[in-house]
Symmetry: C2
Subunit: 417 residues, 2 copies
């Protein structure tokens, strides 16, 4: 393939993670250093920034300040939840994107996000191809949900998992401080896939985890749940439960809908907004036991707690951005960077980087294998721990100032042609 000279755009989409900026920084830094890439533009708020001609010139940022992106949570360029229509239905957005690409001579498009973002990449790539505009499109994955197909795991997952496991170990000790009865229900993110909630099993592996873990991969039965909690509570006077926000009964009804009138708020992609499950289940258990019952929602702390990020996750995220640029310049397009796991001769985890076809990745959700759940579907097996533990290794090398995080401040100089 021939060298393609031109500008690049990097955009970020979907919910925040602790390391999505590490990926973007890997992409931006590598692109700034590549002689075939004539300019590096950041799209403000993802694809909306392209549509609105709201681009910033990453070359105008101070390199030392830019480097702080690697340890800054959330999306430094801003994010969106904007879903492109099928071009066959309405190609207005695509025409506009092409117009902007031509205006800035954009020949490389990097999009940093989850399944929906990979779908966006795929659609743009197809449209450009059909319209004879040469532009290489690369997806850079991120999602705390860990549900992208193909890749062994997703950037962002491990840092969230580490925060969840660490917090659960701390909650375990807190919940045992009095010799009085105590039941704790911890609600963890995860709509359809239980990877985040499952990470509570890492705390169990250290002897300080929840007694029960419920993921949306399995149907949740309220009577069985209550009986289990009562049994554990009767034995030890304590019970800690980790539940995924997306747990549902055999009819597919969310447990969070049992008690609350679900507000029917939907995000931009039509997913229901869940929440309040912990307090609902805490209420149920209060009426069923004499224990003090506490519901805890880890809330958005689990996705933005960069101070507890996995350095392995940070480095892999950085590399995924870097490799996206390198492979695009080499001539590849329409791919997502992904991870393939291997083990060296000493049994140590090794992360290998591979490219996956966007069509394979887009809009498919990867769930926890059924055999990684215990028989009663309220806990994980050793296989899950073997899978997740290598991913959370290493403490963040985050820069601190006065012992508080020193997060990036971008100048955000508007791009000009």
């Amino acid at each position: 393939m021939s060298a393609l000279k031109g500008a690049c755009i990097i955009g970020q989409s979907g919910g925040p993670t602790s390391v999505i900026n590490a990926s973007a920084y890997g992409c931006i830094k590598t692109a700034l250093e590549n002689e075939n890439i004539t300019a590096v533009y950041g799209a403000c708020n993802g694809i909306k920034g392209v549509l609105d001609d709201n681009l910033i010139d990453m070359g105008k940022e101070d390199p030392a300040e830019l480097a702080l992106m690697k340890y800054t949570p959330s999306s430094a360029l801003g994010s969106c939840r904007y879903k492109l229509k099928d071009a066959s239905v309405d190609d207005t957005d695509y025409k506009r994107i092409l117009e902007i690409f031509k205006k800035y001579n954009v020949r490389y498009f990097f999009y940093n996000g989850g399944n929906d973002s990979m779908d966006t990449c795929n659609k743009i790539s197809k449209f450009m191809l059909e319209n004879g505009y040469e532009c290489r499109v690369m997806g850079i994955p991120k999602t705390i949900d860990n549900d992208l197909a193909g890749t062994d795991h997703c950037p962002g997952y491990a840092s969230a998992a580490k925060y969840i496991a660490t917090s659960l170990m701390e909650i375990y000790h807190d919940a045992r401080v009095y010799d009085t009865g105590m039941i704790t229900v911890v609600e963890i993110m995860g709509r359809n896939a239980g990877w985040l909630t499952a990470s509570a099993a890492l705390a169990c592996a250290k002897g300080a985890g929840p007694d029960l873990i419920y993921c949306p991969e399995n149907d949740f039965d309220m009577d069985t749940f209550i009986a289990k909690v009562k049994e554990i509570y009767a034995k030890s006077g304590k019970c800690i439960v980790a539940v995924s926000e997306g747990i549902h009964d055999a009819n597919g009804k969310y447990i969070s809908e049992y008690g609350n009138d679900l507000s029917n708020a939907k995000d931009g992609f039509g997913h229901a907004q869940l929440g309040g499950l912990a307090s609902y289940l805490a209420g149920v258990l209060k009426t069923e036991t004499d224990a003090k019952v506490r519901g805890i929602e880890l809330s958005l702390l689990q996705r933005c707690a960069a101070h507890c990020a996995s350095q392995t996750d940070i480095e892999e995220s950085f590399n995924s951005g870097k490799i996206a640029v390198e492979k695009a310049v080499e001539g590849l397009t329409d791919r997502m960077v992904g991870f393939v796991r291997s083990y060296d001769e000493n049994g140590n985890y090794v992360c290998n980087y591979e490219l996956f076809e966007l069509t394979v990745v887009a809009n498919t959700e990867k769930k926890i294998p059924a055999e990684w759940f215990n028989e009663t579907k309220d806990g994980l097996t050793e296989d899950f721990v073997k899978y997740a533990l290598p991913l959370i290794q290493g403490e963040t090398q985050m820069v601190k100032e006065d012992s508080l995080p020193r997060f990036v401040h971008l100048k955000k100089v508007k791009a000009t042609v």
Copy 2:
């Protein structure tokens, strides 16, 4: 004063903190090494462990394992919320305590807790004195609430403050990720004193904190609050609010009582159990704006997040336990170890250790000075930041195993005479 030979008891009381075990370890280690102290007993679940003759022999623990107490959150010996009656009303408990002290030849009693625990110390000390039993009593402070009188600050506060400031900086970034309207209400612990909530101002000092901070030191007016949020939201499309669980109106009514039927659950000392304020205020703001509004309760994570503890807090806590033993052996009694701040010739913070009379400390609550609030009572001045910032310095030296905390496992061998 003459050397007093005998055993010692250390007990822990009240709610968990990240560093109460650092204090206890400072006490236990120093006592184990002191030739005048013939045995070191840990009271299981505080004063209840004394009443129940449920003591463990700290000398039987492996020293290397015991050292992990320094970085383990919550009370490793177990805690209680047991309030001793006045001896003049009912001296049953005191007689029993004296009986146990005599049984084990206890001549030193160290009690690690907040205001209520200092009150317990004070009462026991008086009873022993009146009954001619020589026993030196020392209070070792702890409380994330930072509300003990006399001392400049309290062990446990700084670590909670650091976690709160760090989490708020992360929430700040998360809340700005979309270009759509977003209001976030973060509920922070603190019944009568706003020290914990005020620590959100440390995030403001780093340019990534809440727009509004409400503490229980000032009356909260709902109309003013709504108007302020609307004004900030209209300007920037975002607003982050930090509220103390104990905020109340001019009539003293808790704001958390406005919406909820308060469960009237009381803890052992007759304090009302608060909670649910964030979601109540989020609900109010939802009806008043077109923003997406999120309520976040930091919940018990703020008191047990040892992974984000201040090493300054850990060392000061350790020292307070150590000094309690040293001063008791020297002949002092009926005191609490406290901190007095000074600054060295370079303007660096220095912590000095002093002893305070228990009668001064017990049952008094120290609040934030009125002049440390801004004029509109919805923020803190630079004076607060100057006060708090030195306390949160230094990253925890916590031992990790597989990049997760390695918390202490005590053998808890029952004490025998």
